[in-house]
């Protein structure tokens, strides 16, 4: 399904990284130098960040959201919290965040159970809420603490995830956001209760090099000048960029520095481009998130690196 929403603006994005880091050298010590070299070449990860024991997604989200709320706290009417790793099954963490962030009791608070496509799912949901004229701002927040939910003996996934919290403020502006979304129920990626993350790499790979490029191409117009992908795997991202006809420099990656940050991956890429890689001014981008579900959601949207506030914060414990 393709949908276009008018008059929207990404006002601010903030991400929080824990201060514990695992490097490729640590990975090489665990699995051997040869596997580490191949992992680095194919998957592309050089380091990942981990929340220490006892730190939850809501802890990271509170820190990420704080700088976004100074001006607009009273104008937030919807709170969307994206996570697959809540620390409680009930109540919804979005309700606890309404309290902890000091938002009004009028707020609609929803948890969205999505992973790597989660930011895009929430962005599309936010756009729907913004159709109603009484909604002034939507706060999207979330992330996952997955580093303690992987099989430490599985070289393919042990070093994959960073625990990152994010917050993004959506308001009214002059941007047209065009979305395309897809869902194909599958257990190719699962996070069972009381068990570790599981992924059928072949099925996931086939999905990402067939469905995702097709969706991106359905949104591509001549003014699109960059493709911002969920940071899943460098090899896969290169294939998607190639299939969609983008030059490598139009498909920026930061998986080397941050690993796969689940639903925080795209917010973290945006913040990294603005804060560390010198992206300035206006761009027309296609953002694409894909993963567990299987779910894939992409959007063509204007980005303004001059007026949108982007910020990466380190969470000190």
């Amino acid at each position: 399904m393709n949908q276009t929403f008018q008059g929207l603006r990404l006002e601010a994005v903030s991400c929080v990284l824990p201060d514990y880091c695992t490097t490729l050298e640590d990975y090489a010590e665990r699995f051997g130098k040869d596997i580490a070299e191949r992992y680095s070449k194919v998957v592309g990860i050089q380091r990942t960040f981990h929340a220490p024991h006892g730190i939850t997604v809501t802890d990271l989200v509170r820190a990420a959201a704080a700088p976004l709320l100074e001006e607009h706290r009273a104008e937030i009417d919807v709170l969307l919290h994206v996570t697959q790793t809540p620390h409680l099954d009930a109540p919804p963490e979005s309700c606890l965040l309404q309290r902890d962030l000091g938002l009004g009791e009028h707020v609609i608070a929803l948890d969205i159970n999505h992973g790597c496509a989660g930011f895009m799912v929430a962005l599309q949901t936010a756009a729907h809420f913004m159709l109603h004229p009484t909604v002034r701002h939507v706060l999207i927040c979330g992330g996952d603490v997955l580093s303690n939910r992987v099989d430490k003996d599985d070289h393919a996934t042990a070093f994959m995830f960073s625990d990152v919290g994010f917050a993004a403020l959506i308001g009214r502006g002059d941007g047209d956001w065009a979305f395309a979304n897809g869902t194909a129920g599958s257990t190719a990626i699962t996070l069972p209760h009381n068990a570790t993350f599981r992924m059928n790499g072949t099925d996931v790979f086939n999905f990402t090099i067939s469905k995702v490029p097709e969706q991106i191409l359905s949104l591509r117009t001549p003014e699109v000048d960059c493709l911002l992908l969920h940071q899943s795997n460098a090899f896969i991202m290169r294939q998607i960029g190639r299939l969609c006809g983008f030059a490598p420099e139009q498909v920026p990656m930061n998986i080397a520095d941050y690993g796969n940050a689940s639903s925080a991956s795209l917010p973290l890429l945006l913040c990294d481009l603005a804060q560390n890689r010198g992206w300035r001014g206006k761009r027309t981008a296609i953002l694409s998130g894909y993963g567990c579900g299987l779910t894939w959601v992409s959007a063509r949207m204007p980005l303004d690196f001059a007026s949108t506030r982007f910020n990466i914060i380190h969470y000190l414990t």
Partner: protein, 72 residues
């Protein structure tokens, strides 16, 4: 692509230090692991527009098994 070209691509995927033949087993000194499998799947997708759902490394034993999907 002829078989010589395909073998050259497979040699790159398998990080092969020796020339490949169809009989070469997928074992050291070749590197046949989940990452090589991804590269092989991408090779099939781009060169032959083919997807192989549900396969794993253990479904392939020799270079001939890899070649088979380039001909089928």
């Amino acid at each position: 692509m002829n078989d010589t070209d395909i073998l050259a691509e497979l040699a790159d995927i398998l990080a092969a230090p020796v020339p490949l033949t169809p009989e070469t087993p997928l074992e050291p000194p070749l590197t046949w692991d989940s990452m090589a499998l991804l590269a092989y799947l991408a090779f099939l997708r781009f060169r032959f527009n083919k997807l192989l759902p549900g396969v794993s490394c253990k479904d392939f034993h020799t270079v001939a098994d890899l070649l088979a999907h380039t001909h089928a």
